[in-house]
Symmetry: C2
Subunit: 336 residues, 2 copies
DNA sequence: TTGAAAGCGCTAACAT
DNA sequence: ATGTTAGCGCTTTCAA
């Protein structure tokens, strides 16, 4: 039995009104007689009428669909931010279509092409580094575009996020305040992630010419963190603090240190980046940087919608992040 | 400057062919002369032509869009499975639209309504327990539907997942093999999650009438795990093993035990469920149950597409999960 | 305030 | 193998 889905004409016939009026009602046009409106709504209910989105999109040339491309979903930071994007969009009748690029520029570009072909009206990309081909494509198609997870005044494309360089500096400063001079910095693949590059730059600036800093580039995973920590323990001059550019890495570092009986922060301090759900509950609780993921997602969605609806220009936004001072960073202990 | 996006007619005019032929080429219809095909493709490239998805959807009455509703994305299990769904769908030209229900039946139903209005052709829902209104709605609209994360022979709706009850039994059996008789079971909200209910039932069956089992219902979070572990430590007769129905909970349990100087598995064994990325790397490495999340997502997507395209009937699928024997479960230690 | 009617861009008979 | 053409369901001038 076909579910008998009503069309606009059925509603028009049922109410004795024209399809134009029905359309007006369905679109909340203020200049329809309230009585007619009620009649139409009743008939719509009765006939199980829901406007066909394809027909509407074809007619208006608007799909109310926005695309977001993220490197991976396997990462609570992205998950949080995407959740916020979805919530904000759907509250206003928009749909989010998601693509996952695996941090690969080519895949990202292919995904964008598909998303355009699927009718996406605007794009939210993660980070500020993308293939010229992609930017060019979006530009030629006149698709509004925002970058998230970064804030960059200079960027021609609006950036909604945080200042990764400043945050990394602040993180180093936080460790230095605790007396740490021998610091190891652990991060995921630089090639895949421009935020990491920017953070590294910030850390280098804050460290000045101190060449007793160790840098470890590993897989962005708990396993990567473990590996880095293993290497760190094998160096001659063991650092007194480890700064990780992701809580995920910090978790791996902590696991390994614990497995070796090394006390945190007594023997080594550990600091993360992201403030994932569990980082407050870890043992010891992880000192980290809280990123405004939800706010970022909501803002990006909001700006895109305003851009789409009122042609409101988008603008970069520097959202506040802050150091969560917790138990994994302590004063340096002077060894005899 | 408007980016001058070509229509099918422009391509037809440019090539001197009809729109029908252009359409055929764009849809890979085999019966077009290869030369014509090449000509059309070239013109399409030149004129920047991409078929308008709304027009196509209107014409074919197919949106090539499938909807998935998940409780939350903040959880690697769902993330993994959704990633697989997205990958599988997009490989065949389908789009995934995602909604997040926060494990709330009402929100889930509202989301589904919106997704229908947006043109979703089929639905993937998590778990087997959903509001009658939702099932009814999807039924009336004749939207193909699959449940994932569960396998249930008896279900009228196809289920693609694993046998939660059997897995929980296996988990208890695994602990019993190590001599554990006093076991605590920790899980998230029963009201929000039917998989948890099923697992609990399995555990109860495996435990038989042993009434020395402790049950703890907490928030499904690391913090929840911590809380449960705190309570467990405060009971008179401390269990020798803790089974958590999620690795997330197990992580919280481990954090708390460690903070109290309790050795795992020497003093207490801990077992999880899910096999998240980090659980192998934890200290000690977490014994858990590996769920076939990716395979599940891919299968669900595949079945839906076959159903949509060839009207192939969908069928339930019991995917293999297995116990990952690692370091957090050890033999019971007999106390004097 | 309401109605009539012309498309929006594409697909799919049907005809050739 | 290719062309003609009638819609798909809705929005939106333009008239009334």
């Amino acid at each position: 039995m076909p579910p008998k889905i009503g069309k606009i004409r059925d509603v028009a016939r049922e109410t004795g009104l024209s399809t134009a009026t029905v359309s007006r009602v369905m679109n909340g046009n203020p200049k329809v007689n309230p009585e007619m409106r009620a009649t139409v709504l009743a008939a719509a209910k009765k006939l199980n009428y829901v406007p066909n989105p394809a027909a509407r999109a074809l007619s208006t040339n608007r799909s109310k669909t926005v695309a977001a491309i993220i490197p991976t979903i396997d990462h609570s930071v992205y998950a949080k931010y995407i959740t916020a994007v979805e919530k904000t969009l759907s509250a206003r009748g928009y749909t989010l279509v998601l693509a996952i690029s695996n941090a690969d520029a080519q895949m990202e570009c292919d995904a964008a092409e598909k998303l355009i072909a699927m009718g996406a009206e605007a794009f939210i990309l993660t980070g500020a580094k993308h293939s010229a081909a992609l930017i060019d494509l979006l530009d030629r198609c006149a698709k509004p575009l925002v970058f998230t997870s970064v804030f960059d005044d200079q960027s021609a494309i609006p950036t909604i996020g945080y200042d990764n360089q400043a945050l990394a500096k602040a993180a180093i400063a936080h460790l230095q305040e605790h007396g740490h001079r021998d610091i190891a910095v652990v991060y995921g693949s630089l090639a895949e992630n421009d935020r990491t590059v920017t953070r590294l730059k910030g850390a280098r600036m804050a460290l000045g010419s101190a060449d007793n800093t160790l840098f470890f580039e590993v897989d962005l995973s708990v396993e990567g963190g473990r590996r880095a920590a293993m290497e760190i323990l094998n160096t001659d001059k063991r650092p007194s603090a480890i700064l990780c550019f992701s809580d995920v890495l910090a978790l791996g570092v902590m696991f390994l240190l614990q497995s070796q009986g090394i006390r945190i922060p007594l023997d080594i301090s550990v600091m993360g980046f992201d403030n994932l759900d569990w980082s407050r509950q870890s043992y010891p609780s992880l000192t980290t940087i809280d990123l405004p993921a939800s706010q970022m997602g909501a803002e990006a969605a909001l700006q895109i919608m305003r851009r789409l609806e009122e042609d409101h220009p988008m603008s970069s936004l520097d959202l506040p992040a802050k150091i969560m001072r917790r138990g994994s960073v302590g004063p340096v202990r002077h060894r005899p």
